[in-house]
Each structure stands twice: as C-alpha cells, then as structure tokens.
C-alpha cells in the first residue's frame, strides 16, 4: 500500500525532475542548500551581530548611488 501511495505522490509531485542528476548539478544543489541552512542558522542564532549585509552593499554601492542622486539627500525614513 505504501508503495502505491508513494508512486501516486511521486507522480503528482514529479520528484524525478526536482532532483539533480549530473555531478555538477549535485555540487551546485549542495552548495545552495548548504548556504541556505548556514544563513538560516546564523540568522536564528545571532551569529556575527556586527555583520550587516545591507551595510556592506551600501558601503560598496553607496557612493555611485549618491552620484546618481547628484548630491546628498535626506529621506523621511518611512
């Protein structure tokens, strides 16, 4: 019975296409899922509270963005 149920679920969910087949795909799959789990743990356990990805992006692209604004600006922060 479980085999029949599993076959039905497999047919509906189409598991075979969700899975990577070649080695390169498996490596990419593992890297993506690994980074996702790592970031989820880091977020949940408050690892590196000083590290802020938004600040990093602002540090790298803040100056060119300021050029696009042609000078300093202040926003209301809504």
């Amino acid at each position: 019975m479980w085999a029949v149920l599993w076959a039905i679920v497999g047919a509906v969910m189409d598991f075979r296409h969700w899975m990577p087949r070649r080695m390169r795909e498996r490596v990419a799959w593992a890297v993506f899922v690994g980074i996702a789990i790592f970031l989820a743990m880091a977020s949940d356990l408050h690892w590196w509270p000083q590290f802020d990805l938004v600040r990093t992006f602002v540090f790298v692209f803040g100056k060119p963005t300021a050029w696009l604004y042609i000078g300093k600006f202040q926003h209301g922060g809504a």
Binding site: M19, R22, R24, A28, V54, F61, T65, L68, Y69, A78
Partner: protein
C-alpha cells in the same frame, strides 16, 4: 522548447514592475517631493529605455541565447562563470528583497500576529511552484489576472477619487528639478531596470526581434499607471503621504460609500499579494535559468528547490526590518542594478560581438 508570445512578455513585464510599484513606489517618491511626485513616475520610462537598448543589442547579435550564455561566449569559461555567479547573487538578493517587501506588507496590513518567516515561506513556495511549472504557465497566470485587475483597479480608483484635491500639487514644479530627479532615481534605476529580467528568457521568446519594442510598451503602460497612482495618492492624502509606509493602502482604506461599502483594502491586499507572487516567479525563472546556464545543465527544474531555499534564507538574514529594505533600495540598489544589468551586459555584448567578428 516552450515559448511565450509578445502579449505574455508585455504582461509579465508590466506585473513585474507594478508588483512592488503599487505598494512602495508612491511612498518612496514622496520622500523627496510631494507636489511634483507625479513627474517622478516618468522615470520608469528612462529605465525602460535603458533596458530596451540593452535588449536591442542582445537580440540583434544573439537572438537565440540567454545573457549568461552570451557571457560564456564573450569571456570564456572562467570569466563567464564569474559573471554567472555575480548574476545569480543579483537574482537571489533581488528575490530576497521582493520577498521581504511582500512578507512585511502582509504582516503590517492583514496578519499582524503571524511570524514573518512563515508568510515568506508560503510566498516563496507559491513562486517556486510557478517557476517549476515553467515560463508558459507564468505567462498564462499573468494573463489570467488581467480581467480581474481591469475590474478592481478602476473601481478602487473611481471610489477613492471622491476625496481627491488638486491643492497638494500647487504650485507646480516648486520643489525644484533636483528634488524631482532625486525622486525619480528609484523608479528609474531600481524598478525601471527590472525590465532586464527578460534577458535570461530570450531563447523562450517566440519573437525575440520585437523585444525592445515590447519593453518600451511595458514601460510606457507601467509609467502611466504609476503616474495615475501617485497623483491619486497625493491628491487624496496630501502632505502626510511623506510619513506613510504604504500610502496606497491608506487611500483604499479611506473609501467609504454609504453604510455598506467600506474596507475595500482586502481587494487591494489580494491584488498586491498576487502581483508580488508573479514578480517573484518572474525573477526566480530568470535566476534559475542563470543557475542552469552556470552549471551547463539542460534542465532547469532541479534548480527550483535550492534557489527557493536560498532566497528564503537570505531574505531573513539580510533584512532585520522594513527600514533595512528601504535603506537598501534607496542607497544601494540604483548603482547595483545599473552596474549589473546595464553596464555589465553592454560590455559582454560588445566583447562577444568583437570576438565573433574577429573569428569570422
């Protein structure tokens, strides 16, 4: 290969822009100017023009290749892979931002007691399923919501126009051209450059040659809708629009007709959730195609689960609150998008064209 029509391309692009355009753009524009905010909406056309120019270069020389495939041709294996990784990071960060905007909007507007990570889980799962079904299904879902939007949007517009006043717009152009330009930076370089999402789907277009015109049509329609929306928002709410996170939501909440017609914000929230799910699926399609090209794979479906997991995780890790999202969009996204989807592709197309011409 499954291909989509011009009509579907235009609709996907319109809903991709308006997905967040009908939520955050009026409030973002009002940070810089209120009385001339309507003029900033035209910035979408500038972004659309930049993307149409890039798309014209793409379909002129490489009508059967995606952006990453052209990058592989231009820079070789190592350079192409490096750009592919950069582009995948861009896709993941954009998806995380849109996902966080969606979950924050749902929490603030209708589900204040539900954890935000749970809402984003549901949103990303829906987008992942749409992506798994493929670009043709995403195109059809975009077609499906057009009649609903054609009924609901004019209804909400006409009902809210009762409290509209012209006074907040006077005197016209008094805020100065610098304020108008600063207000239009986000529509131009953050939202307007999102039209470039289509560059990864070029092999799936039935008529790639018409892509620049399709982007032009989509940007013109999106800009027209945005200008109307911003005008309505400022006309109804006036100066306080500057201090609201979701001014359009407040406009819809202000609708009251007699004793029975009120709280139509439910319709608006449903519309926002649907269009943002479509926006997520459009960007996820593009990102998954990039991952597929990066891995030299033939099938795209295996990329959906890892991509969905990663964007969910990044959206929770990267943005601690809604202020982080606003800060990121205002202070980093314009230059980040300009570099990633305009400057880099322009260099890639010129290099690929030069290498092809030299070989011939």
């Amino acid at each position: 290969m499954v291909q989509i029509s011009r009509y579907q391309v235009v609709l996907i692009l319109i809903w991709t822009i308006l997905g967040t355009g009908i939520v955050t753009m009026p409030g973002t524009i009002a940070q810089f100017t209120v009385q001339d905010s309507w003029a900033a909406g035209v910035g979408l056309c500038i972004g659309g023009f930049l993307c149409a120019t890039i798309a014209a270069m793409h379909v002129r020389f490489f009508p059967d290749k995606s952006l990453i495939q052209v990058a592989m041709q231009a820079f070789g294996w190592i350079g192409g892979e490096m750009f592919a990784i950069w582009y995948v990071i861009y896709g993941v960060v954009t998806l995380a931002t849109v996902g966080r905007e969606l979950s924050a909007f749902v929490v603030i507007s209708v589900l204040p007691n539900t954890p935000e990570f749970f809402i984003s889980t549901v949103a990303f799962a829906v987008a992942a399923y749409l992506t798994y079904q493929g670009i043709e299904v995403v195109g059809r879902v975009n077609q499906f919501i057009v009649p609903l939007a054609a009924i609901v949007a004019p209804l909400l517009f006409s009902l809210s126009v009762r409290t509209f006043e012209w006074q907040p717009f006077h005197p016209m152009f008094s805020s100065g051209w610098l304020s108008i330009w600063q207000a239009s930076v986000v529509p131009t370089f953050a939202y307007g450059l999102e039209f470039s999402v289509v560059l990864q789907w070029v092999p799936a277009l039935r008529t790639p040659r018409t892509l620049p015109m399709d982007i032009g049509i989509a940007s013109a329609i999106s800009a027209a809708v945005l200008v109307i929306l911003v005008t309505l928002t400022v006309g109804v709410l006036g100066e306080p629009v500057r201090y609201l996170t979701y001014p359009v939501l407040e406009v819809v909440r202000s609708i009251r007709q007699g004793k029975f017609v009120e709280r139509l914000d439910t319709l608006y929230v449903m519309g926002v959730v649907v269009t943002q799910a479509l926006k997520l699926s459009a960007f996820q399609l593009s990102t998954c195609e990039a991952i597929k090209d990066m891995c030299h794979s033939k099938d795209v479906k295996w990329t959906v689960i890892p991509c969905a997991l990663l964007i969910w995780s990044v959206s929770n890790f990267m943005f601690h609150n809604l202020f982080d999202v606003t800060e990121f969009i205002l202070r980093a996204v314009p230059a980040y998008f300009l570099f990633t989807v305009v400057i880099c592709p322009a260099i890639i197309y010129m290099t690929a064209w030069w290498r092809t011409a030299r070989e011939v």
